[in-house]
C-alpha cells in the first residue's frame, strides 16, 4: 500500500515537472519571437551570416585542407557554428535562469532544476526546426543514406547533454557569484576559439593539440562533421566519444547542482 502511494507520488512529480517545463518553454519562445515575422528562423540568421563571413575571409586560404573545395569549407564552418551557437545560447540563458526566477522560487514551491532545463529545451525546439533540417538535407545530399540521417541524432543528443550539464553548473554558480557572466563570456570565447570551427584542426601545432581535445565540444563537432560531410557510414567511435563527453559533463553538472541546491534559497 505504502509503495503504491509512493509510486503515485513520483509519477505526479514527473507529470508536474513535465507540465512546468512545457509552460516555461512556451513562455520563453513566445517572449522571444513575439511579433517577429521570421519567428524562430531568426536563430538561423546568426550561423548563416557567420558562415558567410568566415568563408569570405578564410575560405580561400583553408580550402586546401578541405579537398580544395570552398563548398566543403562552408559546410564545415556551418556545422561547427550551429554546435557552438546552441551551446553558448542555451548555457548563457540557463546561467541567469535560477537567479532570474528567484522571486518566484521564494513564493511557490518549485523544482529548481526546471529553470535551466527549460532554457535548454527552448533551444532544442529552435534547433529542431531551424538548423536540424538543414543538417538533414546536407547529410542526405552527401551520403544518400538514411542511416546517416538517423545517426545525426547522437551528436545532437551529446550536445544536449553537454549543454544541460554546463547549464546546471553555471546556473548554480551564479547564485553564489553574481559577477559570473563576465567570466563565463570569456569561457565561452575560449571554447569557441579552441573548437576547430573556422579553421581546420590540422593547422594546430602538435604541442597545443592535447589541450584542444579537452574541449567537450570537439568530439561532438567531429562526429557531426563525419556524419554530415564525409559521405561514409557513421563512425561509431566518434559517436561514443561525443556521448561519453556528454554523459561526463552532465553528471558533473547535475552533481554540483544537487549538492549546492540546499543553499540556494538563502541567497535568492
Amino acid at each position: 500500500m505504502t509503495i503504491s502511494i509512493k509510486d503515485n507520488l513520483t509519477w505526479l512529480q514527473v507529470q508536474r515537472y513535465w507540465e512546468l517545463l512545457r509552460v516555461l518553454v512556451v513562455r520563453t519562445l513566445k517572449v522571444r519571437y513575439r511579433g517577429s515575422f521570421l519567428g524562430v528562423y531568426w536563430s538561423l540568421l546568426n550561423p548563416l551570416i557567420m558562415t558567410g563571413l568566415y568563408t569570405a575571409i578564410f575560405g580561400a586560404t583553408f580550402s586546401s585542407y578541405y579537398g580544395n573545395s570552398i563548398l566543403n569549407y562552408v559546410l564545415a564552418a556551418f556545422t561547427g557554428l550551429v554546435v557552438i551557437n546552441f551551446f553558448s545560447a542555451s548555457t548563457s540563458q540557463a546561467l541567469i535562469s535560477v537567479v532570474g526566477n528567484g522571486a518566484l522560487l521564494n513564493k511557490i514551491c518549485l523544482p529548481v532544476s526546471v529553470f535551466p532545463v527549460s532554457m535548454v529545451a527552448a533551444n532544442i525546439f529552435q534547433f529542431s526546426v531551424g538548423a536540424f533540417p538543414l543538417l538533414v538535407l546536407m547529410t542526405l545530399v552527401n551520403s544518400k543514406s538514411s542511416v546517416n540521417v538517423l545517426a545525426l541524432l547522437f551528436p545532437f543528443l551529446a550536445l544536449i547533454l553537454v549543454s544541460t550539464g554546463i547549464g546546471f553548473l553555471v546556473s548554480a554558480l551564479y547564485v553564489f557569484f553574481r559577477d559570473l557572466p563576465y567570466f563565463y563570456e570569456l569561457v565561452v570565447f575560449v571554447i569557441w576559439i579552441s573548437s576547430p570551427i573556422f579553421y581546420p584542426a590540422a593547422i594546430v601545432p602538435k604541442q597545443v593539440k592535447p589541450f584542444l581535445s579537452l574541449n567537450p565540444l570537439s568530439p561532438i563537432i567531429e562526429s557531426l562533421r563525419q556524419i554530415t560531410l564525409s559521405g561514409a557510414p557513421p563512425d561509431l567511435g566518434l559517436i561514443w566519444g561525443a556521448l561519453l563527453s556528454g554523459i561526463i559533463i552532465l553528471s558533473l553538472g547535475w552533481t554540483c547542482f544537487h549538492l549546492w541546491r540546499h543553499q540556494f534559497m538563502d541567497l535568492l
Binding site: 507540465e19 509552460v23 513562455r27 522571486a103 513564493k107 543553499q263 541567497l267
Partner: protein, 243 residues
C-alpha cells in the same frame, strides 16, 4: 484530523548582508587566507505546531519574527535544518499577487503559466479560464499581453487565478483585497467563501482586528519562537500587553 504538523522545527539561514556575491573577491580572500565560512542565523527556533483541518490560524508578531519564514517552511519552499514538517493536501500560496506573471505574453498564456506554477495542470487551467476571466472582468482582454493591462487589472487577474481553485490549505501573507470598491466586495465574498468552506487557512497579518474577528486561533511569534498559541482574542490581547 490534523493537516499540518511541525515537530521541533529549527531553521538556520545564511545572512545575506555579510555574503560576498563576488567571484573575484572570494578568490582573492581565499588566496589571502582571509576566507571565512558565512555566518548563519537562527530564524526558527524549535517550533512545534499542529493545525487541524478547517482551522483558520492567524500568525502575528513583530517584523522579522519569522512569520513569513514559517509559512515558507509549510509551503515547502524552505527545508528545515532540523525537525520534521508534515503537510497533508495541496498548499496554495496567495502571496503578493501577480508574482508569476510574464508581462510580455497574453493574459490567456499567463493564466496557464501561473496556474501550472501554482500546481494545477494545463488542462485544468484551460477549463477554468472562462470563470477566471469572468471573475476578473477581463473577458475582452484574453489575447492582450499583460503589460497592456492596468496595475489594478493585473492584481485582479492574480487574485482571480489564485482563488479560483479550491486548495486544501490556503496561505495568505498580508494579502488585502485589490482593485476598485466593487471588486473589493467580490474579493471579500470569495475570501468569506474560503472561510466558510472547510479549507484550512493560515494567515500572516498585522491587522489585529481582522485576526481577532476571523481566526479561530492565533499564534504569537517572536524571534523565531512561538511565544503563545491559543484563542485568537486572547493571543492578540497578550501580544498587545507584551509590547
Amino acid at each position: 484530523m490534523e493537516v499540518i504538523r511541525l515537530d521541533q522545527v529549527a531553521l538556520w539561514r545564511r545572512t545575506q548582508e555579510e555574503f560576498s556575491y563576488d567571484l573575484k573577491k572570494t578568490m582573492l580572500s581565499i588566496l589571502e587566507g582571509k576566507y571565512r565560512q558565512p555566518t548563519k542565523k537562527l530564524v526558527l527556533n524549535n517550533v512545534d505546531l499542529l493545525v487541524d483541518k478547517g482551522e483558520k490560524v492567524g500568525i502575528i508578531g513583530a517584523n522579522g519574527s519569522g512569520k513569513s519564514t514559517l509559512l515558507k517552511i509549510i509551503s515547502g519552499i524552505l527545508q528545515p535544518t532540523s525537525g520534521t514538517v508534515r503537510v497533508r493536501g495541496h498548499v496554495a500560496p496567495l502571496i503578493e499577487l501577480g508574482a508569476g506573471f510574464d508581462a510580455e505574453i497574453s493574459v490567456m498564456d499567463n493564466i496557464l503559466l501561473y496556474g501550472v506554477l501554482l500546481g494545477f495542470s494545463r488542462a485544468e487551467m484551460k477549463e477554468r479560464a472562462q470563470s477566471i476571466f469572468e471573475f476578473a472582468e477581463l473577458e475582452d482582454y484574453a489575447l492582450v499581453p499583460v503589460k497592456g493591462l492596468s496595475s489594478g487589472m493585473v492584481a485582479r487577474l492574480g487574485f482571480a487565478i489564485a482563488t479560483d481553485v479550491q486548495p486544501d490549505i490556503l496561505i495568505l501573507d498580508e494579502v488585502l483585497s485589490v482593485g476598485d470598491e466593487s471588486f473589493k466586495n467580490k474579493c471579500k465574498q470569495r475570501m468569506d467563501k474560503f472561510w466558510d468552506d472547510n479549507a484550512t487557512v493560515l494567515v500572516v497579518s498585522h491587522d489585529l482586528e481582522f485576526v481577532k474577528q476571523s481566526c479561530h486561533r492565533a499564534i504569537w511569534m517572536n524571534k523565531g519562537k512561538i511565544i503563545f498559541s491559543g484563542n485568537a482574542a486572547q493571543t492578540v490581547d497578550y501580544y498587545l500587553n507584551g509590547l
